[in-house]
């Protein structure tokens, strides 16, 4: 299978007063053309860091990609010179963010902000730009687009703003859309609409989607495969239906139980005991063992190797009996 | 209590020390204060006495030369240091006190009192402060007291604004409500509870204000609005100005002295800012 995106051993570090922190530690995954892959994990597990790293958006002042390859359509983005990288951003890979209010510039009109990527990448002639913006707004289901283009972000509702962000990310027809918790900041009623829109556009435009979320119900609806992150490491990966039906890692099991995505809504959520450890004080061995119900002495001794079974991967010693090293 | 204060000072010093520029500023400040305190004693020359020929270059007898009337420039600098520091510090203290009271009352009580006090503060911020200072000194005749007062009058509003913001932010917090529930009086809460928390940023702005006050004082005395009985750096620049073509150093020397003094105070102020408000440190 020729992947659209092949991330291998991606490592992201941030500089802090106490030294370098590994927010992403040797993470690998792939996305096929037209496929939707979800990354899940508690807050702070490194999801956004992966998303930013893919577009090389980690601010130089605070951190860096410390290792790994990001092969996109045959090119290693991690090694690309900055000017070449700029031709990838917003053109071949689009990105939308968690909070559309913060992600839109308050002093520029909607029209101008959507037109920018079009003009930057020369996708349309200048005098056609606004027509194209109107088309895009229509595509993402914004009513009265001719009026919207003259309005400012604060004139729009949260859901409309996120649609504007999506229009902006899609402006140049990217082959991959990265969506970093695109619905977290929205009203519950709007969340489903926005997700349905992303799903529909994906099918219509034939692009791949990397969806970052902590909402497992969403994952089961729209994603084909899922990557589970814990404290900067990938702990499990595989087809969504298989992983959710029979999670191999205790952390995935905990997440599923806590989110209660298919259960009786009256049943109380079961939380994973304990909290995510600070990156600066990760335990030896498996980083999950202090919270793990099945922890054994050997979990503390060494970092578990990644085991494979078909399309599935997991880094837990308990999968050993049935799975082989990948 | 004293132990607490002492250890607080020690840790403050540890944080302050990290900023090398601030330490340099503090060292320069110390030298200037020493010069102001002991200089006139160690170098007992009356800065108003016409001792030599006018406008001589530095020599053994006059280390920095003489001015247009044959007065010793070094003696002028040493005596001028006293005036500059005295007025700078006194004006800053007075302005800080007034500003703190106004800001605390406005921030703590809010309502109409807040509205009245802050309108007044904003009003004083719009009046061109140097013009107002000039007018005050002109009305009352120049003396150290009047000059100090005029600088304080134009300086307090910025302290008031800052203090108000601090008091407003503390006034709604739980610990203040708890104090009230315990039956503490408003004055007690303001002085004993909120003030210590509000003080650090106020101290910073007060220290920086000393620098501004010294600059304002020099401007006033340059315009001839200095105390006629006391020599000051601004006055010396004004005197040297008349012979700028032939003896430029006569104005240059006191000017450089002002520059170094003000720079040193600003460095110390920045250092204090970093040491007292560590959140703001990154830049």
């Amino acid at each position: 299978m020729s992947a659209l995106l092949r991330v291998s051993d991606l490592t992201v570090e941030y500089d802090t007063l106490g030294g370098a922190l590994r927010a992403v530690d040797g993470v690998s995954f792939t996305i096929a053309p037209g496929e939707t892959v979800a990354i899940v994990g508690e807050s702070g597990s490194g999801k956004s860091s992966i998303a930013h790293a893919l577009l090389r958006l980690i601010p130089r002042a605070s951190g860096r990609i410390a290792g790994g390859r990001i092969e996109f359509a045959g090119e290693d983005l991690a090694a690309l010179p900055e000017h070449a990288m700029r031709r990838v951003r917003g053109a071949r890979i689009g990105m939308i963010f968690q909070d559309p209010m913060m992600a839109l510039n308050p002093v520029y009109t909607i029209g101008r902000q959507i037109a920018e990527p079009l003009l930057l990448h020369g996708s349309v002639p200048v005098r056609r730009a606004m027509d194209r913006v109107v088309e895009l707004l229509t595509l993402v289901g914004v009513p009265a687009p001719e009026e919207r283009i003259r309005q400012y972000p604060h004139n729009l509702s949260g859901g409309m703003r996120q649609r504007v962000m999506i229009a902006m990310a899609l402006a140049s027809g990217p082959r991959l859309l990265i969506a970093d918790e695109p619905t977290t900041a929205l009203d519950v009623t709007v969340q489903a609409q926005v997700l349905a829109l992303v799903d529909e556009l994906k099918a219509r435009l034939g692009m791949a989607v990397l969806l970052i979320t902590h909402d497992l119900a969403v994952v089961s609806e729209v994603a084909a495969r899922v990557v589970v992150m814990y404290a900067g490491r990938k702990v499990e990966e595989g087809p969504v239906n298989e992983v959710f039906a029979d999670p191999a890692h205790p952390y995935t099991r905990g997440l599923l139980a806590a989110s209660d995505w298919s259960g009786d809504p009256r049943e109380r959520l079961r939380e994973i005991p304990g909290t995510v450890p600070a990156l600066a004080e990760l335990p030896e061995g498996c980083s999950f063992w202090p919270r793990c119900p099945d922890a054994e002495p050997r979990c503390r001794a060494a970092r578990p190797a990644e085991l494979a079974s078909g399309a599935r991967r997991a880094s837990c010693v308990h999968a050993e009996r049935i799975w082989r090293p990948s | 209590m004293t132990v607490q204060v002492a250890s607080g000072v020690v840790s403050l010093w540890h944080r302050f020390r990290r900023n090398r520029a601030a330490v340099l500023g503090l060292a320069i400040m110390a030298l200037i204060v020493l010069a102001a305190a002991f200089g006139p004693l160690l170098y007992p020359v009356d800065p108003f006495d016409m001792l030599g020929r006018p406008s001589t270059v530095p020599s053994q007898r006059f280390p920095l030369g003489t001015d247009v009337s044959g007065r010793d420039i070094l003696a002028g600098l040493l005596h001028g240091a006293r005036v500059s520091l005295l007025i700078g510090i006194a004006a800053s203290l007075a302005a800080t006190l007034v500003g703190l009271v106004v800001g605390a009352l406005a921030g703590y009580f809010g309502g109409w009192l807040d509205a009245v006090l802050m309108r007044t503060t904003d009003f004083f911020l719009t009046i061109p402060s140097f013009v107002l200072a000039v007018l005050i000194v002109a009305i009352f005749q120049p003396s150290v007291l009047i000059i100090t007062a005029s600088i304080a009058v134009v300086s307090w509003p910025s302290v008031a604004r800052l203090a108000r913001a601090e008091f407003v932010s503390h006034q709604g917090r739980d610990y203040v409500d708890a104090c009230r529930a315990m039956g503490m009086s408003n004055a007690e809460i303001m002085l004993r509870q909120i003030l210590p928390n509000a003080l650090p940023p106020v101290i910073v702005i007060a220290s920086l204000m000393v620098a501004t006050a010294i600059l304002t004082e020099s401007g006033l005395s340059f315009l001839g609005l200095g105390d006629p009985n006391i020599i000051s750096w601004g006055y010396m620049i004004g005197v040297g100005r008349t012979v700028l073509r032939t003896a430029w150093w006569m104005s240059a020397i006191p000017g450089v002295t002002i520059l170094i003094t003000v720079l040193a105070i600003n460095l110390v102020g920045e250092g204090l800012n970093e040491a007292l408000n560590p959140r703001m440190r990154q830049r």
């Binding site: 577009l55 963010f97 909070d99 992600a103 962000m165 | 100005r241 700028l244």
Partner: protein, 325 residues
Amino acid sequence: MTSRLSYVALRALQVIPAVLAIAVLNFILLHMAPGDAADVIAGLSGHASAEMTAELRRSFGLDQPLIVQFFVYIGRLLTLDLGISLIQSRPVVELIAERMGATLILMLTAIGVAVGIGLLLGILAALRHRSWTDTALSVLALVVYATPQFWLGLMLIVFFSITLDIFPSGGMRTIGAEFGPIHSVLDVARHLVLPAGTLGLFYVALYTRLMRTSMLDIMTLDYITTARAKGMSELRIAFTHAARNALLPIVTLLGVQVGHLLGGSILVETVFGWPGLGRLVLDALLQRDLVLLLGILFISSVVVVLTNLLVDVIYGLLDPRLARK
């Protein structure tokens, strides 16, 4: 749009109490002087006779109760009747109007050029955060902050007029020279370089620092990341998305600076013999002309209030969110 108009109108209304307050301050200052105003003014003017004091007292209405005096005085100020300069025996308004032009030329040139340079340097410093350039600019700014403006003016005269002889050391025009219109503008410009440079340098430093800080704040915000994710270059982001937002908090400060600028201009005009308000202040001081000084305080305060109004209106144009408030 209508909400913007009403915002401007509302803001303009606030000028009225501000001007009233300035008038009240003037009245208070006049009465704070030891003795009554007539004594003070007559005394300060140096040639006080009994008739003159009595005449003054009547002309100021000082024989009236204080409250009456107050309203008469305020009424006069509000109709721009600032009294007669005792020394020059001319209406204060006239004297000020004569000098206002020169001061405005100096102030606007200084602040205009300084803000332009300062903003550019600020963006540069932010783009090169923590580089050698950034540090050098910070150190320079600290030194400039500590420099007395009038002294800087003197030193520039020593260097550029006396030593190099490339710029005139004072005045606004070459005395006795006959120029055509173009040359006389150039002549004023040549005279303007040193005073405007002296007055402006402080603001170059100030706006460099302000813009740098503001830019650094803005550059961490999400919409800057969005711009990066569109494929925009850092330079372009800095000058469009970031600069436009970074300007907002700085524009509001411009209003506050006008009063400071006026103060600086008084000293700088004194140094360079620039025939503006500052020189008028010096003349008034030398001649102890309190009425004139009070008039200058009134007018310059009103100028500050009006500038603040202008700045707020500009802010309203720059920030689309304001229309909502």
